[in-house]
Amino acid sequence: MAVLTDQARQDEWAEFMRWASSRGEVIGGSKQVVRQVFDDLDDGFNTNAATINAWISLPGRTQISTAHKAYIAARVLLRRYADGA
């Protein structure tokens, strides 16, 4: 999969700031800095997709769909770094 389109990154960036504001959360940095984080992470996932997939042992690597692996990754990331971290 290629990197997200610029519009997709823009949409996610905007939605993230709305989500943070709706929760009254303070964002540490300008919105341009926040946008760069989206760009860097998407570029990083694009460059390292095969490496990240290889973290998953068989048979899960091949039996679980890409979408479900993405959901699982998101849940692990949120539990580790966001929810109650």
Binding site: Q10, W13, A14, M17, R18, A20, S21, G24, E25, V26, I27, G28, G29, S30, K31, Q32, V33, V34
Partner: protein
């Protein structure tokens, strides 16, 4: 009334939002506010009557706002424009706002989210304020220039004061 006196005070409940890209109603600790997005230029529109006390001078529009999420030393840009409705001056079937005046690159409060900052935009009498005259109705549009500023998250509009300059 004369120079330096308050002509009008305006609050979020006075907003008549535009059809698209409008600031949204919200409350913060039971304070009514209008939320202006950080990624899209959003506006609020207020229809008023120029008070009989207006002596024909320029105007200073004071914007009272706070930020929801901004913390770092970032800035915010506001635009203000007037539309004279008057006595057979504006066909209200369409918009006729004059060119915006702005207050740009204001560093947002960083001491605590929720501190209200006051900035002002000045207008000279005449075309700058669409030649609004005493006793005439008019609209004033307030826009956060989110495309140009750097503060993250929503800006919260609390109140506006219009003073005769």
């Amino acid at each position: 009334m004369a120079t330096g006196d308050t002509l009008d005070t305006i609050f979020p409940e006075n907003n008549k939002p535009p059809a698209a890209n409008y600031a949204t109603q919200d409350t913060r600790n039971n304070h009514d506010v209008l939320d202006f997005d950080a990624a899209t230029n959003e506006s609020a529109v207020f229809k008023r009557i120029m008070p009989r006390a207006y002596a024909g001078g320029g105007l200073t529009v004071y914007i009272h706002y706070s930020m929801t999420s901004a913390s770092a030393a970032t800035d915010i840009d506001w635009d203000v424009a007037f539309e004279r409705i008057g006595d057979q001056q504006q066909d209200v079937g369409s918009d006729g706002f004059a060119t915006v005046n702005s207050v740009d690159n204001t560093t947002v409060p960083t001491g605590a989210s929720g501190l209200v900052d006051i900035v002002n935009v000045t207008f000279t009498d005449g075309a700058d304020m669409d030649s609004v005259a005493v006793g005439e109705s008019y609209r004033m549009k307030v826009t956060r220039d989110a495309v140009s500023d750097t503060a993250a998250g929503d800006a919260e509009l609390h109140a506006i004061e219009i003073k005769e300059t």
